[in-house]
Structure formats: C-alpha cells, structure tokens
Amino acid sequence: MIPLSHSLTIAALLFVLGLAIILLRRELLFILMGLEVMFNGVALTAIAAGQYWNNPDGQVLTIFLMVVTAAELAVALILVWLAFEHLKTTQVDMLTRLKDDTKGGAP
C-alpha cells in the first residue's frame, strides 16, 4: 500500500516545482502555469489525506479547489490577454508601470 508520507512528498515536490516555475520563468503565462502546478500539489495532499482518514472531505476540498482555480484562472487569462493587447508584451520584467518612481517625478 502507499504510505501517506510518500504521496505527501510527491505533493510537496509538485508544490515546490510550481513555486520554482513562478520564481524563475519571466512570462505571465508560465507564472499562471506554475500556479496551477502548486494548486495540483495541494489537491494531491487533500486527496491523500482524505484517503488516509477515509472520509470524502478530502475530495470535497479538491472539488472546491478546482472551482476556485477555474474562476481565478478565467479572469487571470483575460487580464493577461488585455495586458498583451494594450501593453504589447507578457514579459514580466517589462510590466513595471506600477513601480515607485524614485526620481520623485509624478508617475
């Protein structure tokens, strides 16, 4: 049988990988993908825990996780699309319009 700690380690691995993707990749879309990977890591922990205590709450949590990610991603993708259309780029390093203007000039 699969010990709980094994599936949890896999979930942790996925989580960290997602974080790494977010930190390393410079594209908006990749950051969203990294986010998805992290969410899936969490989903795996929920399922494994649900299985370990043998009650459906784990799966209920995962369903709601999916609902939240779907809702969040729908809006995020459109924002990326708008950024791409108006600012002509999805490079994170270029999107710095909100930065604090140290020259003291009006933004």
């Binding site: 977010i22 930190l23 390393l24 390093d93 710095t96 319009r97 930065k99 604090d100 140290t102």
Partner: protein, 645 residues
C-alpha cells in the same frame, strides 16, 4: 386612522422624490398632475381624519421608527395629530392642493416645471412634517426643509440676478431665526434631556417656576425662531423681496403656510411662554409694532404683490398680538381666515399679472382696465375680508375677536389702540389698490377666458374667505362659539372684558373698516391727480430697513474685517523688523555659527540617511513581479524555518 398619519407628509414627499428621480422619463405636463395628485392624497387623508372623528377623539399618535439612537436618548420619527395640528394640517393641505391645481395652468408655459413641482411638493411635505412632528428635532427638520424650499422657490427664475439675490436674502434672514430656534432646542435638550414636545412641556411647567431666568431665555430663543420664519419686525425685510418668486409660490409660502409656521410654533409651546409672562407681553408688543409697520408700508406701495406682502406682515402681527394676549385659539382662527383670503388675493393678483403680460404696477393695471368679472369679484371679496368688512366676511370675525381679547390683556388698551389704528390702515391700503385697479375698468370686456383650474381654486377660496368666520361669533352675540370651546382644553381660553366694553369694542371694529374704505376712495382720487402721501418714499422702502441694516450690520462687519487684516499685517512685519533691526547680529551669529556648524550638518546627515533608506526601500517597489514573489516565498521559508527550529 393613526396608521395613515405618515401618509400626510409622506405623499408629497413621495411625489417630490418621484418627480426628482423618475422625472427624466416624464413629460412636462406629467409633473403638474403628479404633484397635484400627491397634494390631493395628503388632503384626502386629512379629510379621512376629520371623517374618522379625529376632531373629537384623543390626539392620534404614530411613531414610524427611531431616527437616531444615541445612548438612552431615542428621537423617533413620530407624528401626533391633536386639534391644533388638525386645524393647521387641514389649512395647509387644502390651500396647498388649491395652489397646486392653480399652478397647473399658471406654470403651464414654463420650461423648468420639474424643479418647480419638486420644490413645491417638498415644501408641502416639510410644512406637514413640521406640523405633525411630535418632537422638536423632527419639527426642526421640517423647519429647515420649508426654509430650503422657500429659498429655492423664491429664486426660481434664478437667471435674473435680482430674483436670485431675493432668494438668498430670504434664506439668510430666516437662517438667523432658525439659529435662535436651534439654540432654544439645544437649551431645552440640555435641561430636560428630552425633546418630545408633550413630555418636555410637562417637565418644564413642573421644574421651572414662572418668571425665572431659564424659561425666559428659552422662550426668547423660540420667539427669535418664530420671528425669523414669520417675518416679524426685526427680521421682516425678506418678505417683500420674496415676491420675486411666481405668484402661486407667494400665495402658498408667503400667505398661507410658511409665515404661519412661527405662529404654530408659539401656539404649540405656549405653556413655555406662560412660564415667562414678560416674553409673552413682548410677543404682543412685537405683534402690534409689526401691524403698524406693515400697514403703513403697504399704504405707499405701487407694486400689487408688495402691497400684499406688507399686508401679510401686518396680519401675522395680529396673530402674534393674539398669542401675546394668551388668546391662542383666536390667533389660530385669524391664521385660518387670513390663509384663505390672502391666498385668494395673491392668486387673483397672479392672474391679473399673467393676463396683463407681467404688469405689476397698480397704476398701469388700472389704466389697462380690462379685467374679467370673476377676478373683480374675487379681489373684492378678498379685500373686504382682509379689511374686516363687518358681518359678511370671515376676516371681520377673527380680527374683531382678537381686538376684544387684547383689551383685557396686560396694557391692553394701548395695544388695542394700535391694533385698531392698524385695522383702519389695512382697510385704506387694500381698497386703495382695489379702486386703483378696478375703478375705471369696463367689466365684461372681451377678456381671454380664465382656464378652469384657476377659476375653480379662486371660487373655492372666495367662498372659504366668506364662510369660515361663522365658526366663532363675537362675544355676547347670539351665534355659536364653536371654535373657542373646541380648542379650549388644548390652547386655553382668552380673557374677556365685561359685556358692555365688548359691545362698544365690537361697534368700533365694525365702523373702522367702513371709514377706511371712505378714506381710501378719497385718497385714490387725490393720488390720481398727482397728490403724494407725506413721507411716501420713506414708507415705500419699508421704513428703509434695508439701509438701516446696511449701516448697523454690514458696514461695521466689513470695517472689522479690514481692521483685523491690517492689524495682522502690522503685527507680523512689525515684530520682524524689530527683531532684525535689534537682533541682526544675534541672527547672523546663530545662522552661521550654531546653524551651519551643528544644525545644518546634523540635518543634512539625517537627510542623507533618509535618502539612502528610501533608495533601499524603493528597490522593493521596482515593479518586478518575480522580485515580489521571491520576497513572499523567502518570508514563508523563513517563517517555516523559524517554526521548525
């Protein structure tokens, strides 16, 4: 019935809101109909109250909800309908309805009807709220609403700067009155921590003994508010200029409702005035003085509406006189009759002005000469009732009752003399206008027919100003004394002189108007020949109170302001020069020695440190998303590590 009470102020308020909010979708003609329906609903509810026996039953009470809950003080939106309120509400709503109907045609051509009817309805709602309010806070809300609407309606044609300034003038003078009323309310609240009228008055009569310092102060403050709103002597300058508004507005606001708000307030809080007899006498004194002022000023006016304005001031003076002599019921009676015949006069004047393309001057109106017979007759009835033509007009009964009541009040005969002279002058100035305007007119000339709503409202008002008086026959006469008995328990009864003097007073009261009419006839004929009243110019400008206030109020205010300005300028430069002249060396010494040496270095050092810190911190805001993510995860890692460690 008590659950419908909210409908009386509520329906005009609702009408106003609908006109304001949904007005965009309605066409011009819908506004007038909607506003009149709202006023009609209010009037019908009042009628329903009468039918359901509100006149005889206990005062109806309805509280909607607690307005502001502060600690244990919970002022509520509550309405009480006792007999005083019932009279006032029926007067206000009936005249309000008639004027709404009248203004359907009067304002037909106007392009800005939405604003007009919004404020008209809001005014009606405010007035009804003021009457029905069971606590002073709600009363004050109605008071302010009425003030606002009168300002908006006077300055309705705001494009003409003159009318706009008239609106502002009205608003400022009434504000002074409202201020003193507010202070009065604060004082009362401070004393009794309670604002509902009945409870307040009960505590006041118990705790305060008559003539002591507190009730006098409170009564004076409330009197100030009443004077401001009812345009009595010190604060009456705004009423003649308020004629800048449309005639139905002047009819509604400056004849029937707003000016009577002060009278209602004093009638409502009369136990307070009884606690301060000196203040009560001063009310009577102010009343008489205003009577003389109004009557004499009206004598010399050429503009028909200004005549009526000054006559309103003097008639309200009568009401204040009655209140001063403790005859509250009679004041209320005069208020009612006055509301009807003055509204009639204003509306007829309005129709005449409209048909003669806005001609206000009575001489030219007279020269033009063509007036329809209805207008002629209505004006005659109104004038007769105003002058107090004996037996047939309502004005006679109410004015005569006040005159007899003043006789037996403290310093009664003196007050009576002034009042009687005032009534003589009233007859003179109103019939002077009548003879000027209608003397040579060939009645029956081809006049454009007056539209139906106007004729209806005029005829009802004419009928009312004849019939209403029969409610209260003079002392000793066979007729019924319905009015005073009905209001006896609520407003107290007036003191009556002995029967003999009463008969003589009544005889004089009958004779005076007739003499007045005769004098008016002679005066008109002489004036047509070019004779001018002595000091007419002085009277025409209303004893040029405006110039008076200009001198005693406005000019000193500006001089004071200028004085402070140069004082301030003087002071600052002065000290600086003084300092520099004597302490120049000290200043330079500390500048380069202390300042450069220690102060500047430390400051610049601090500045440099700040700028450096700023640079470091702003790096965290350089907009790089991944930098933010890195910091977040670093924080998480650090926390986790710390927790694990």
């Amino acid at each position: 019935m008590s659950q419908f009470l909210w409908l009386i102020p509520g329906s005009p308020m609702l009408g106003a809101l609908i006109i304001a909010l949904l007005g965009g979708y309605l066409k011009q003609r819908h506004f007038s109909i909607l506003a009149s329906c709202a006023a009609a609903v209010a009037f019908l509810t009042v009628l329903l109250a009468w039918l359901m026996g509100a006149a005889t039953s206990q005062p109806l009470q309805q509280t909607l909800y607690t307005w502001i809950g502060v600690g244990n003080w919970m002022p509520t939106i509550g309405f009480t309908l006792d007999r005083l309120a019932l009279v006032m509400v029926s007067v206000v709503s009936s005249i309000g309805l008639l004027i709404h109907i009248y203004s359907i045609t009067f304002m037909a051509g106007d392009s800005d009807q939405r604003r007009y009817y919004f404020f008209l309805n809001l005014f009606l709602a405010g007035m009804l709220l003021l009457i029905l309010a069971d606590n002073l806070l709600l009363l004050y809300l109605g008071w302010e609403l009425v003030g606002l609407c009168s300002f908006a309606l006077i300055g309705f044609w705001y494009r003409d700067p003159l009318r706009a300034s008239a609106g502002r003038k009205a608003f400022i003078t009434t504000r002074i009155g409202d201020l003193s009323l507010a202070l009065g309310i604060f004082l009362l609240f401070n004393e009794f921590n309670e604002l509902s009228v009945s409870v307040l008055l009960a505590n006041a009569t118990v705790q305060w003994e008559t003539g002591s310092q507190m009730p006098i102060l409170a009564a004076l403050l409330i009197l100030g508010g009443a004077i401001g709103k009812s345009a009595q002597l010190p604060l009456q300058i705004w009423l003649p200029d308020a004629m800048a508004g449309p005639s139905p507005v002047s009819a509604l606001i400056h004849a029937a409702t707003m000016v009577t708000a002060g009278v209602y307030l004093i009638a409502r809080t009369y136990p307070l005035f009884e606690l301060a007899p000196q203040v009560q006498w001063s009310v009577a004194a102010i009343g008489t003085l205003t009577i003389i002022y109004g009557a004499s000023a009206a004598l010399a006016q050429n503009d028909i509406k200004r005549v009526l304005a000054y006559s309103t001031i003097s008639q309200v003076g009568y009401m204040f006189l009655a209140l001063g002599c403790g005859a509250n019921a009679l004041a209320l009676l005069h208020l009612t009759t006055h509301a009807f015949f003055k509204a009639l006069l204003f509306l007829t004047a309005g129709t005449m002005i409209r048909t003669n393309d806005n001609e206000h001057n009575i001489h030219n109106l007279g020269k033009r000469g063509n007036h329809s017979s209805l207008i002629r007759w209505c004006f005659l009835i109104g004038a007769a009732s105003l002058a107090g033509f004996p037996i047939i007009t309502a004005g006679f009964y109410s004015k005569e009752a006040i005159l007899t009541a003043t006789w037996s009040a403290p310093t009664g005969p003196l007050l009576w003399a002034f009042a009687a002279f005032g009534s003589l002058l009233t007859a003179v100035y109103i019939f002077r206008v009548y003879f000027f305007v209608f003397q040579g007119s060939r009645s029956g000339s081809p006049m454009p027919p007056i539209p139906a709503p106007m004729t209806w409202s005029l005829s009802i008002l004419a009928l009312a100003s004849l019939v209403v008086g029969f409610v209260e026959f003079p002392e000793g006469w066979p007729g019924l004394h319905l009015w005073s008995d009905w209001l006896r328990d609520e407003l107290g009864s007036a003191s009556h002189p002995t029967l003999a003097t009463a008969y003589s007073l009544q005889f004089i009261a009958c004779v005076l108007p007739l003499i007045g009419i005769g004098v008016a006839l002679v005066l008109v004929r002489r004036e047509k020949l070019g004779f001018e009243l002595p000091l007419a110019a002085f009277l025409r400008t209303g004893w040029n109170f405006d110039a008076l206030y200009q001198i005693i109020l406005i000019r000193p205010y500006f001089t004071l302001a200028r004085f402070f300005k140069n004082v301030e300028a003087l002071l600052i430069e002065g000290t600086l020069q003084k300092m520099t002249r004597s302490g120049m060396t000290v200043a330079t010494a500390c500048r380069d020695g202390l300042e450069y040496g220690v102060l500047n270095k430390s400051i610049t050092g601090l500045l440099a440190g700040l700028r450096l810190g700023h640079m470091r911190l702003s790096a965290t805001q350089n907009g790089l998303l991944s930098r933010y993510a890195l910091m977040i995860s670093a924080g998480a890692v650090f926390l986790l590590g710390y927790w694990l460690w």
